[in-house]
């Protein structure tokens, strides 16, 4: 949407965007959200709960995409690809048995990755430091996989080695020790993960989540750093192409992804309530009158992620980096002339939004009672749907994305119900209506409500209120 178009919808008298001392108004949506979050499963039936879970997954996607499109102004028509990467990584890791021979390699890999991460976090990286760190951590990854190596010994080793290394690199000893401790923790954590994996025969969904996010971050960084140099339509085309390529990979790489005939099935779900403190669970079960079924648990898990995503998004938007994102949207030249590294921030928001999509993908894959993914769920049409959700909810409106996702998902369900009845309209069989209807919705929204549902609605209410007040005042005068 062009700014000029947006300006056209403004009332003649400009109104201040946000008044001071209205902290309550900022917290209110979150309070309402949490209230609905807690009580929704008590008032809806099973089918509605399924829809609500899907709305949550798509809301997560839409919030992420809105950061990229609505705030930073970078179009992505391939966002479903990252959704798919998250889903497939998680699905493959958890649904397929993992060969024992792979474990040491994976463990060394995790070691190396955590080492690099710790080094980058704790020291100023330079080429040779990084090289030493990596080789060190390959060794560490191998070491901690040896049986009967007690964690304390491991920690001592790590701290000692990091200490020597730190002396060589003339680092502060505090930082060095800290990085040693961090490394030990990460190493033991990964050991714990892998132990669970060995016992179960496949990875836990949480491992799937983390690996999926990591993989997505790497892919989106590589793609984003190249593609985001493009602008407008060219960027849209490039992301579109990327999305299509990824979908083809999902369809064709049969040995890994199951291809388009099988997909991946029997993906285990996540028993969310086994991860929350016992007294909370008992409290809830007492209130609900009995044990909570898997789907309700999954609902709570998905919407917990949605809540976290919204909090993070709202915080980011109202921060230094968020302002830089929005500045890039308006004028890259002006932003750059004020010291905003436009390329870096564009890649940053791209990776962030891709990672959110990846989390949504994992949640989609483990969906309770379904546990099935298929390439068609991550195709071009889905990317377009996501864009429609963002635009319908309102560009640059975090809460709007939630409503956009809800509206589109509900509409999709209705269309599906309609198609089940095999309707005919003047001999035209109404099948596969989604793209047509979504296209129509997009056009209508762009023309009638260019600000999206939420902003358009609130603007309308404000307008009505002001005109009502004005007419009231005139009556008072008369």
């Amino acid at each position: 949407m062009k700014d000029s178009e947006r300006r056209g919808t403004h009332t003649e008298k400009a109104i201040p965007v946000r008044k001071k001392n209205l902290q309550l108004l900022n917290i209110l949506p979150f309070a309402v959200f949490l209230a609905c979050y807690a009580f929704a499963p008590r008032v809806v039936n099973d089918a509605q709960l399924t829809t609500i879970i899907y709305i949550g997954i798509y809301a997560l996607l839409a919030v992420g995409l809105n950061l990229l499109m609505g705030y930073a102004g970078q179009v992505s028509l391939g966002h479903a690809a990252f959704f798919g990467v998250g889903a497939y990584t998680s699905g493959i890791l958890t649904a397929k048995p993992i060969a024992n021979e792979v474990i040491p390699g994976v463990s060394a890999g995790v070691g190396v990755i955590s080492a690099v991460a710790a080094l980058l976090l704790l020291t100023k990286p330079s080429g040779w430091k990084l090289a030493v760190g990596i080789s060190l951590l390959v060794a560490l990854g191998w070491l901690h996989n040896l049986p009967n190596l007690i964690p304390v010994l491991c920690a001592a080793c790590a701290v000692a080695v990091m200490g020597i290394f730190g002396l060589m690199a003339k680092l502060q000893w505090m930082r060095t020790c800290l990085s040693g401790v961090v490394l030990t923790l990460v190493a033991n954590l990964s050991k714990w993960f892998l132990k669970g994996t060995l016992e179960r025969g496949s990875a836990s969904p949480w491992t799937g989540l983390l690996v999926g996010v990591f993989l997505t971050a790497v892919i989106s960084y590589l793609i984003g750093s190249q593609v985001l140099r493009l602008k407008g339509h060219y960027l849209a085309m490039a992301t579109l192409a990327f999305g299509i390529i990824v979908e083809i990979v999902f369809r064709q790489w049969t040995s890994v992804t199951g291809g388009s005939s099988d997909g991946i099935f029997n993906i285990p779900s996540i028993q969310f309530f086994s991860y929350i403190p016992g007294f909370l669970r008992r409290l809830y079960e007492a209130a609900a009158g009995g044990s909570v079924d898997l789907r309700t648990q999954y609902y709570y898990l998905v919407w917990a992620f949605v809540f976290i995503a919204i909090v993070l998004a709202v915080n980011i938007v109202r921060s230094r980096v968020g302002r830089a994102f929005r500045a890039v949207h308006s004028s890259e030249q002006a932003a750059a002339s004020l010291g905003v590294d436009t390329a870096r921030y564009k890649v940053q928001v791209f990776v962030l939004s891709a990672c959110m999509a990846s989390v949504a993908g994992t949640l989609h894959a483990h969906n309770a009672g379904i546990g099935y993914i298929h390439p068609s769920e991550f195709g071009f049409i889905v990317s377009v749907e996501l864009v429609v959700m963002v635009v319908l909810g309102g560009m640059a409106s975090v809460w709007g994305s939630l409503f956009g996702a809800a509206a589109i998902q509900t509409l999709k369900d209705r269309l599906l119900d309609l198609e089940k009845t095999n309707p005919e309209f003047w001999g035209l069989k109404l099948q596969g209506l989604d793209p047509i209807v979504f296209g129509a919705v997009l056009i209508v929204v762009m023309i009638v409500l260019p600000q999206g549902l939420v902003r358009g609605f609130s603007d309308g209410v404000a307008l009505l209120w002001r005109s009502a007040r004005r007419s009231g005042r005139q009556q008072g005068v008369n």
């Binding site: 921060s319 002006a334 004020l338």
Partner: protein, 256 residues
């Protein structure tokens, strides 16, 4: 030489066959207010774009605070203490007036995305500084009571002021102004002149491009005249005004 803030050494910029800036040498010293003038198409704006890194130079060298910046990206140059405004005002229209100025605080603030997302202590501390700086600059240009309005709702003259406030928020050493007086009424222009004097009194070096001769001669210490990409004169306003080559360039007479 240490008091030279901006220096160009035979800097050239070509657009295809057109030489927009042709081997221009000039210096801006600390605390000076310098103006670049010249007839339309003389390459003034191009030169400003070269200085601020929005355009790469075809050849030659640009030094800011003694450091060569021809290979630097715009944001790196901004980090060296150079801020600018644009000929066609480039505000962040989707943001409020205050947020615009807060973006200006970018070069000296440090908090990253994680700090903003998780609201670490550093975020609050820095956000307070940024907000204070923004309010100070808005107060300085007289826009404090419009702080929470969307930037695009301001009248044009105020948008100009906002752009200056935004540039000042980056705590620049050099301020580049691209035609700050164009499109302003006489009253607004004189207000702008007094504002620029105050900025200069704060110790900020100003390099500006403008067409309004009276305005330029009024506020600048030195003037550089460009014609068809070449520097044809440099000196105090009086010297330049009596220079025959300058008169010729402006009146379209062939110089002897």
């Amino acid at each position: 030489m240490s008091d030279v803030l901006v220096e160009t050494r035979s800097v050239t910029r070509k657009f295809g066959g057109l030489v927009a800036v042709d081997q221009v040498d000039f210096q801006v010293r600390r605390g000076q207010t310098k103006a670049l003038i010249g007839p339309n198409g003389a390459g003034k704006t191009t030169l400003l774009n070269l200085l601020s890194g929005l355009l790469p130079a075809s050849s030659g060298d640009i030094l800011i605070r003694g450091r060569s910046v021809v290979r630097c990206a715009a944001h790196e140059i901004a980090g060296l203490g150079l801020a600018r405004t644009f000929q066609n005002v480039q505000l962040f229209e989707n943001m409020t007036v205050k947020e615009n100025v807060m973006v200006g605080c970018h070069p000296w603030s440090r908090q990253g995305i994680a700090s903003g997302a998780l609201r670490w202590i550093g975020h609050w501390r820095e956000e307070k500084l940024i907000e204070e700086e923004a309010e100070r600059q808005l107060d300085f240009v007289g826009l404090s009571d419009l702080a929470d309005f969307p930037a695009h709702s301001l009248p044009f003259g105020k948008q100009r002021m906002l752009e200056i406030a935004r540039a000042l928020a980056s705590r620049p050493q050099v301020l580049l102004l691209d035609e700050p007086a164009s499109g302003l009424s006489t009253r607004e222009t004189s207000e702008l002149a007094s504002l620029l004097r105050q900025i200069s009194a704060r110790g900020i070096t100003i390099l500006l491009v403008d067409h309004d001769m009276q305005f330029v001669m009024d506020i600048s210490d030195e003037v550089v005249v460009l014609d068809q990409g070449k520097k044809i004169a440099e000196g105090t306003p009086d010297e330049v005004q009596s220079n025959p080559r300058v008169i010729a360039a402006y009146l379209g007479v062939e110089a002897k």
